[in-house]
Subunit: 294 residues, 6 copies
């Protein structure tokens, strides 16, 4: 970004109000009508246990408090102790949290807790890995609106936990003129001018361009950022040169771990990658379980 090289990545925890309903809904989804018939049949109400959430693979953690809430939602007397906070890296085999208390709620909440933690940590890990590849460059990794329906707040948070940054949260939090808008408006210049006539005073404007010609047109208008879509790195470099730090430059379109460094080397400010939210594999987690006493 033109003049912004001191970004820190402190992670602000989510207030529980932002995930409690999602966790309750997921527990009920898993319980169906009968609840956990296996645990109810095999485990006594008096059985107690100590369980550990273990990372089977190394990864960046996101969602540890959400997992804790899932356990305590079933039984507020369970003791949930996080050993690693969101935004930290776990080694393979490392303990992420310890849960102590009645064995039944631990076993019955296990899958719901791990489903949240694994999915969010998977996003955080994918983000971290991309960010690491471009650490030598000023470019930031940003996510897109290609998120899981209903979980956008949590997934955007996981991107931050991975050291990435968030692009728009929704259709309403910045003006982004995309190819289809340009088609309707009849051209880059006209689209931007229409937008400028309607825009609120605290909204930034970004415009997607596919060619250097479009970029030149865009730069003649009042914009805050350009999204350089699906450009080869040679064209990207030329685009960055053309922009000359007057506006923020964002590279987008099929960027992967294979290509990220080359893209970053072009000097773009932002690299947006849908993959980190819509296709990141879940982190592999397990619940280690030690029976204590009845």
């Amino acid at each position: 970004m033109p003049n912004d090289t001191t970004i820190t990545t402190d992670l602000t925890p989510l207030y529980p109000i932002l995930y409690q309903d999602a966790v309750r809904h997921a527990l009920l989804e898993d319980f169906g009508g009968r609840g956990d018939i296996t645990t109810d049949a095999v485990v006594s109400p008096d059985d107690r246990a100590t369980a550990r959430i273990i990372a089977r693979s190394p990864g960046r953690i996101a969602g540890i408090d959400i997992a804790g809430f899932a356990f305590c939602c079933l039984d507020p007397r369970l003791q949930f102790e996080a050993k690693l906070q969101d935004g930290k890296d776990a080694a393979a085999g490392e303990t992420l949290a310890i849960i102590k208390g009645a064995a039944r709620p631990i076993l019955s909440a296990e899958r719901t807790a791990l489903n949240f933690l694994a999915a969010l940590s998977g996003i955080a890990t994918a983000t971290r890995d991309i960010a690491a590849l471009i650490a030598a460059y000023p470019a930031r990794v940003v996510c897109t609106r290609k998120t899981t329906p209903g979980l956008r707040i949590l997934e955007k948070y996981a991107v931050r936990a991975g050291g990435g940054f968030n692009h728009r949260f929704g259709l309403d939090d910045a003006l982004l003129i995309k190819d289809n808008h340009i088609v309707v408006a009849g051209g880059v210049s006209e689209a931007i001018q229409r937008a400028r006539r309607r825009i609120g005073h605290m909204i930034k404007v970004e415009v997607e361009v596919d060619t250097l010609d479009q970029l030149e047109l865009a730069l003649k208008e009042e914009i805050d950022a350009v999204l350089l879509d699906n450009m080869p790195t040679s064209v990207l470099s030329e685009a960055v040169r053309l922009v000359n730090r007057r506006v923020i430059t964002e590279a987008s379109g099929g960027i992967s771990a294979q290509t990220a460094e080359a893209v970053a080397a072009t000097g773009v400010d932002l690299i947006s990658i849908g993959w980190i939210t819509h296709s990141a594999p879940a982190l592999d987690l397990s619940l280690d379980f030690a029976y204590e006493f009845r």
Copy 2:
């Protein structure tokens, strides 16, 4: 499965009541407070368009009606025509659906519609690909409870669209004694016996075993299925031989595209793969947009 070799894979469509709330919630999540400020600024209420949902990569389709509902939820006058039904394969570049009508709601619903369709088609495609690898064997691909919180019904449906089969929908629809239950009960036999004493008459019992010794113990009890966890294929083969079709055999634990065929070759009835729901990459989709007239 012992005597069940004529499975068909007709796909029953989901009733809209099962996804309408999720779609509405996702649209509101994307709209935030202001709605689609870009489209509102750049596109006129009178602009009309014809849009096509295109598969950028080949894949198995799931969720086409859900995508259609997203568009029509914003504007019931939009015409949504599915060109490919769920459960069918799309070639790269193939048109999945055509939407005609006002340009604004088409553009504003685009991301929500594609997020559902891409995620579910990704699951269907991953399932189909695994199923294809083992087509020469009687084994079925089944999914697990490692699903996205809140979307289990839709993801289980996508597995069926991919030619896979569903294992348990929740903690309550079959009794599955896992390693941690055995720890609490003090052994395989005791765990099964406890379960048998409590079980309903229409519930089947499956038990997870890690070793052939555990398997032999389990087979002495009254069970319906065994989950053979993390066994090398040589041990799996021996397990299948031991079972001798008395109960259903399920292989589980880190099975991937690389190993699926070898696992199927052991003769197991079911291969359960969490990956197809928790880590399948989304199918790459785009919305092609042709401006029509104002």
Copy 3:
């Protein structure tokens, strides 16, 4: 059931997450817009009381924790002490619970708390009474899907509290081919064969038959249970003999306290009775109230 004579009837308590929303909704339903205008007018915020929930008639208790939650939902400082746990029998006049604290919330939550407890205990009592009539036989009492809309989980739980067992929780947790399905399929055999071609590996299949001829056809197919519908006891006995313990036998159709023992005497495994959920009279309860001091 063929080989399952050691059923125990331990009752697993419901996690509060399964009833909290229903109780909150019921309290708001009773409060309307003004709340409890009588109590607010007549009772001072400083008045304190000790109240007792009393069984006016003898019966089996179900829902005592739900009642407790209703009181504490209005005022978490109320002390609610259950004197009799769910699944236990109350004598006429017996105290089920004691509530101490501010008089206002006790009086304002009374009706909601008792409505849950009376309805569920009514179901438990009806179930218990039927179960007692057939205690000399191996047959189990099971409930149906004829439950109060929105309260199925609680009513199925009440059946278990009464010593009964649960049949299907919903359309999705076992395959039950009923008369109308047979009409569509064109016959018992064809219906079962269609089902077999589509069924998941952990799902059991039951088929409803009205005649011994249908039964013989059904037994030629692969099924897990037969529902013997509306058969006179002489025919039921013959059906049980025909089945010869190869599958589970369930008698259904208008079975009442008058006929239950004769049905059980035929040797069927299960007796399903819709009446215990859809028509059981509520247990007669009252709240005894002792004013303490202001």
Copy 4:
């Protein structure tokens, strides 16, 4: 009631907004995660049928539109024709409604539709039967707040369909001083006086009395009605004589079909019966199903 002998019992239909959510919730409750696995397996999407809802026993109908909504909620193309409107009497074997269209949604919505219709018609029938017993007297049957949690609006409507009348809908729509309030206030007079000091101008006041002494105290205060609780008919008669039509008289407490006429003969204005909502048996209904063609 003192001067109100021309009551008509026209029944105002409920607006769908009052039951749509409850029906949707009940359908989802029955569908679980997989939906209707039997119908999906056995019935083709092309199968069509004509179904009839039949009253197996005679009774008063309530909820026919709610049943219709349940079917159309799954498939808006189903044709639902009510043959008997709410508030009308069905003979045994009479057709209440005819549903035509795709066989699958008819079978899948059947249980939900019938559960509402049977429960509400059961309440209407019980109310009608009590009302018939006292038809020769001016007394009205009224219901109480002893309703099923979450369904009060529907159950109160069913009482009206049965020719009964509604007492309070909730704690907030009239002031009813009960025994426990009197305990706290220290006496009937004090309780009424406290209430009078707080009451809104459009609220009526009723007071529960157990004895003629209490009644005489109550009549010295400004009240609109007295609830004569658990009085033998001889005492009731004396109470009615004492009141002398100055206020409305309501008999309450364990009144049944056996005792209703004797109670009515005492001359009371209202007879309140909790039984008609909390313990009325469901009306026995079935769905007759004729396969049409594929």
Copy 5:
């Protein structure tokens, strides 16, 4: 009111169940997807503060517990101490509450807490001011159904906090025959007679009249109250004389602070004013904030 001159205005607090969902919804509305990005960026999790809610203008307080719940909803460890209870008057500059604890949740909940408290206190203040103008007369100030959609319970409560009284909570809690009903019925008498034939025993009947002729017709029927709509004070006086305390009299229609006393002087029992709920300005509040230490 004819015989009811000892009304007290004790204010019964609302049970939290009546506002918790509204507060949670408002917090989420303000948080959007990212939460409070300013506070997260500028304030450390370790910063602590003491904040005071201050009345910038004098007014009557309503909603102090609701404000407290907003803060504690974000962080249950915050200490919220109300210095002035609902129903009390604040001087300009007076401290209404003190909040101590982490600075972040205090700042992030501030706007939501103040929006509730300011709106409700505005209603209470407007009500109080009108009530004060007519304190010398027996007339009561009552509110209408012209409330903010979704907040009626809270706004009716605020009216009570202001020393006013509540008219109908909804369409269902008293029968109020308005001009349009009279149009349909064809006249005042016919409308009342129709109502009388249908009415429940605990429901009062009020009829709106525009002229003294209509009033005379109404008084020939059995009614409990008359709403004297838009009458000049001279006509109102005559109306009150005509009624002669036989029924409750309510003046309505454009009554303001300027005209209230003159209206009260006519001797009416009730003065209903929509303005106090639909147009009362919010009370001017601020959050004084003292940084403590990190």
Copy 6:
């Protein structure tokens, strides 16, 4: 705004998904348990009417489609014809909409429909009136986050209908450093620097300053806008001169119709006024009702 003098005020209609739930909730709030007992008693199901929504006072309209939805929600067969679109001005006595159809749903939805339309039109009118006062100046009227809990989207829309502009929708859509943040950070410069280190690339930064000294400090940092809080117009003028169009200037703090023009004359870009959402009086509306025929 520095270079943005061609703002248009086209109003984009709200998609119904944004208000449908609020309207349904408001209708149920008004219906309570019994529904509209007056209309049900007095009006026949066969009565038909033509009703007109009339503006009693002149004003700017907002919410006409929301009102229409309220009527059609009760009865989809009602014909609702808007005569004036949102964003247009109504003269006193002008007809805003005509509703034809059954008299019952028209009367029963009236209050809910008018409550939305009156509140939102009141906001639009207040906004319009302020905007008219400053029409000779480039300054825009903007609203704040002081909105009614739960209705922010609708109220922000009403501001746009009034010709105003929206400031932040929530805590998350721009970074606004207020006085309390500066207190915590220890100074204007430090606060801005902290924010800059954390901020996303599409987020603008505004800082509140109370003095010219603070303004000078702020202008040394990288900011997009300054909020000039509670400054006398002479100081405001000096502030605008100091800023010299480098950043957007916003005047805030107690600005009213009396002071708006003087504030605008200082040359500020934005004038933010909480009053237009939290305290604007509702527009005075009535429903004219013509009985048609039965």
